[in-house]
């Protein structure tokens, strides 16, 4: 079985499901274990503990499961915002 990846839109009090604040992915490795990453303003996937915190009752962010295509759209929006290539 290959590694499996689940994507999440991250929604906080200043964002919405339609326009999430960020994007997150959890990878389950075929070899065991998992890795949690957020797409950061460094424009790369970086290790994140936000979902671990949410699973322990942290109420700051909601994690909504989305498709890879939807995740890619959020990544593109973040990339455009950070690089200043759109008004997003």
């Amino acid at each position: 079985m290959a590694d499996t990846v689940t994507y999440y839109a991250v929604v906080d009090d200043l964002s919405s499901r339609e326009r999430p604040a960020g994007v997150f992915r959890r990878t389950y490795f075929e070899s065991g274990g998992r890795r949690d990453e957020a797409f950061t303003r460094n424009l790369m996937w970086e290790h994140s503990a936000s979902l671990v915190s949410a699973e322990r009752g942290d109420l700051q962010n909601d994690f909504i499961e989305i498709t890879e295509d939807e995740a890619n759209q959020i990544v593109a929006r973040i990339r455009a915002k950070v690089t200043g290539t759109s008004n997003a």
Partner: protein
């Protein structure tokens, strides 16, 4: 909060010495929010909902009715419920966490609802949780830490009706 507590001698506030979130943890949350959601530091600070946290602890047999009663009492005090998450069916953590706002000042605070054992389980697994957050554990250690949290959480008795308290909103 003590006014709410005084209305029922059958349960009490616990962990009052830890009601203020530590400065280092606040900095950590601000950093993560700036990095992961491209918020300004000011917005990142304003988004932290649990810089002040209270915890009610109940007997198992009175838990569900006690939580409902205290939610009503908090509303009667004028506090507005912003969020509530019931984690009694989760694997890693048992309890209910809720977020409130004091409307006159806009001050947000968190109220957690626990039994004695779920509160002890939270305390017992806190170091494992911190280690998982640290990004310093390797894959094997992460598996061990998660298994430890799940084992402790699975041993927490679930009070009757506790998992039926609905999330809000």
């Amino acid at each position: 909060m003590h006014a709410v507590e005084s209305q029922d001698p059958d349960r009490h506030l616990v962990g009052l010495d830890d009601r203020l979130k530590g400065r280092d943890r606040i900095k950590e949350k601000v950093y993560d929010t700036v990095q992961e959601r491209d918020r300004s530091p000011e917005d990142a600070v304003s988004l932290i909902p649990d810089t002040i946290r209270y915890t009610f602890q109940y007997r198992e047999s009175r838990y569900t009715q006690g939580v409902w009663a205290d939610i009503a009492r908090l509303k009667e005090q004028g506090f507005e419920l912003q969020k509530l998450k019931d984690s009694w069916s989760e694997e890693q953590y048992k309890g209910i966490n809720s977020q409130w706002i004091e409307p006159d000042t806009g001050q947000r605070f968190e109220v957690q609802f626990h039994t004695r054992i779920s509160f002890e389980a939270k305390q017992l697994t806190h170091d494992a949780y911190k280690r998982l957050r640290s990004h310093q554990a390797d894959k094997f250690e992460e598996l061990v830490l998660e298994a430890f949290q799940e084992k402790v959480a699975s041993d927490v008795p679930r009070p009757p009706g506790a998992a039926d308290i609905p999330d809000y909103p």
